[in-house]
Assembly symmetry: C4
Homo-oligomer: 235 residues x 4
Amino acid sequence: MAKLTALDSSELKELKEKLVDACHILDNEGITDGYGHVSVRVPGADAFVTIANVSPGCATVRRLIMQDLDGNYLGGVNAPPNEWPIHACILKTRPDVVSVAHTHSKWSTIFSVLPIKLKPIHQYGKFLPVDGPPIYEGVGLVRDIERGSALANALGKGPAVLMRAHGDAVVGESIEQVIERTTRLAMLGEWNHLALLHGEPKYLTAAELAVYNADQRFPMRGWEYYINRLKGRKY
Amino acid sequence: MAKLTALDSSELKELKEKLVDACHILDNEGITDGYGHVSVRVPGADAFVTIANVSPGCATVRRLIMQDLDGNYLGGVNAPPNEWPIHACILKTRPDVVSVAHTHSKWSTIFSVLPIKLKPIHQYGKFLPVDGPPIYEGVGLVRDIERGSALANALGKGPAVLMRAHGDAVVGESIEQVIERTTRLAMLGEWNHLALLHGEPKYLTAAELAVYNADQRFPMRGWEYYINRLKGRKY
Amino acid sequence: MAKLTALDSSELKELKEKLVDACHILDNEGITDGYGHVSVRVPGADAFVTIANVSPGCATVRRLIMQDLDGNYLGGVNAPPNEWPIHACILKTRPDVVSVAHTHSKWSTIFSVLPIKLKPIHQYGKFLPVDGPPIYEGVGLVRDIERGSALANALGKGPAVLMRAHGDAVVGESIEQVIERTTRLAMLGEWNHLALLHGEPKYLTAAELAVYNADQRFPMRGWEYYINRLKGRKY
Amino acid sequence: MAKLTALDSSELKELKEKLVDACHILDNEGITDGYGHVSVRVPGADAFVTIANVSPGCATVRRLIMQDLDGNYLGGVNAPPNEWPIHACILKTRPDVVSVAHTHSKWSTIFSVLPIKLKPIHQYGKFLPVDGPPIYEGVGLVRDIERGSALANALGKGPAVLMRAHGDAVVGESIEQVIERTTRLAMLGEWNHLALLHGEPKYLTAAELAVYNADQRFPMRGWEYYINRLKGRKY
């Protein structure tokens, strides 16, 4: 493992600011209440940065913490979030993952305690498995490696896992992707809920999802949009 | 076809500003999220102006594009929206149409994947067919003429078409009318949804819709209202 | 009939400002969209003041109109709202009524097209009949005396009438009371809707409503609250 | 009983400011409309402070009242809230309670008139009895000791009691805890409602709630968050 970049180094300035923006976006879009966190892997290191026991909506670059994938303190405010193993265990078992978000999303909670499934009802769900995300049935805050590993196991190779009576964990190849997925998971949750009240909707099939996934996409539009909403629309 | 007015000519200044306002209204009213677009036909030309690969809520007069009805670039930012054929194909087959809006409306999505119908449950639905708008069942982003033509065909001579697992496309004789119709389609969608949870509502019949359509109406009140909300209420 | 107070006289200044505030409150509380109006009887005269063909949220003291109870123009902006007969006909048949509000309330619309009833499910409904408000089944905008009289007839001696596929009309002994009733009718509509999704709620009986109506109440608290919200909370 | 601290003494300054913030939080989070109140026990005395007949959203430190547990006036604005016995009677029978909130919460109202139960569907409900809060069936405003005592009796040793067709009363060991419980009771109400529309959710059992309650928690994060939202987010 290469020499670790220090949390207060200028190399991490942009990443830290993006992480804080990501937390604020989840708050501003109504996904998080006072709880939840987003993390990002430190480039080239077995370590991650997340918020230090503060609400996502109150996060600042001065309230971050860096930990390694066993939870050891590496810098910043020495007050890890209660559920740091969510991030540590997923990042350890999923080298493809760069960023993780954990929220107490209303919609994920609803689908976590019912047999109904949160499936791709709109093309926004093209990142999801055709049968929707799995559910982690564990009880109790994810405050140790055992629970964190069980959660990572439930997530498997997928993009998201619902956590029973608790919320969800969502992963991605970048902070931007995690935010897009987290907000869309909530939207899809609401839309599945609404549709299911009227009967079985016509979901997108695996073949149909493949058509959408084959379409070229432009990057960053959603991110620019959410940042714009966060900073206050200037029409 | 007469000589084309340039996108940056003063003749188009007011129209471009109105188009940007229209995008902002759809965002401010919660109809669009980061995606969707509104277009307007260039007066006297087989061409249209729309937003250049930017979220409606982030649109500015400097982020517009002009294209002809085959999608050829005619001016502005050379980054057409992914789904420009929605506009091009509808404007080509519907000479009566001046403006088109495409959104990922939550309510249109719900009704696009269920057998329930989005019908005139309030006099605001007087612009709709008595059985509600048709559904375009095509899958995949509308990024080519083939899909665009299929969508225009599904729209037919009507005011709106739902797009399965995607949203809707709404047309009108002016930007103002398209905005009124798009916002009302969303309202009617919500109201149909709510009512259907309690049983079959007493919809307006074709004869009753005719009574409402026969009533004189004052123009622009809704537009003034939406602009007022957009600019920040000054009570 | 005594000499009519002119619309621009200083005697009516306070009443006009309160009328405009009332319109803004209905807008700010999400009851009205671009349409609807509130009226107030001119003290000591067979006349009323309302907004002159403008959205409630855009109303100003310079956009008011005074009419007599036959709809004749008596002052202000000479552009009566489309549905002035709602106000004229109710004020003519109900001498106890000082103020009338007409809105396109979502909840009144839902209950106007279904057999379910908008009943007193909370003590806030103590002003309502135990079986909820009646429904005016007429179709078409209330633009003439015939429709206005039919609406007033449906209202009878009650506090409110739902208008099928259209909204409602609510009356009171003061502008403040009309605003409180209109906002509460919408709240009760939502709450009835929510409860009815789970079965038949335990409504307040006539005897129970009498207990609540016998309790002394403090005036103006709701009005102060709504004005506070309107002007921008200063915590 | 020790000498009573005067309401305008500097010793109570911080407590009064926190009480006013608590009222504003309930308003800002959409729990209260124009009605409801929060109280706090005066340290070391059989007395409490609450808002003096003003909406929670309009409360200021100059609009407070101090009363003893029989309702006698002890200082501040001499206009007790209509339902002061809610506070007096609960504080008298529950020495463990420091703060009481009474609101007309939408969700508590819904569950107060139906056989469905507001149960721990998310770990946020770990403060609740496994079968949800009891319901006070009394009718009429709680304006006398008899009704107040009946309400306190229905509450028993629990954290919250729903009030039929009226709202709820929530208690705690601090103002912060009462606000957290009141806001979470509303969230859990909404989430139970949503889930119950799809069938019987898998609730947390008593044993599972014990697991969550055994987890250490960090204090004040929610309070910091709500204050942040109240004062205006500064991202």
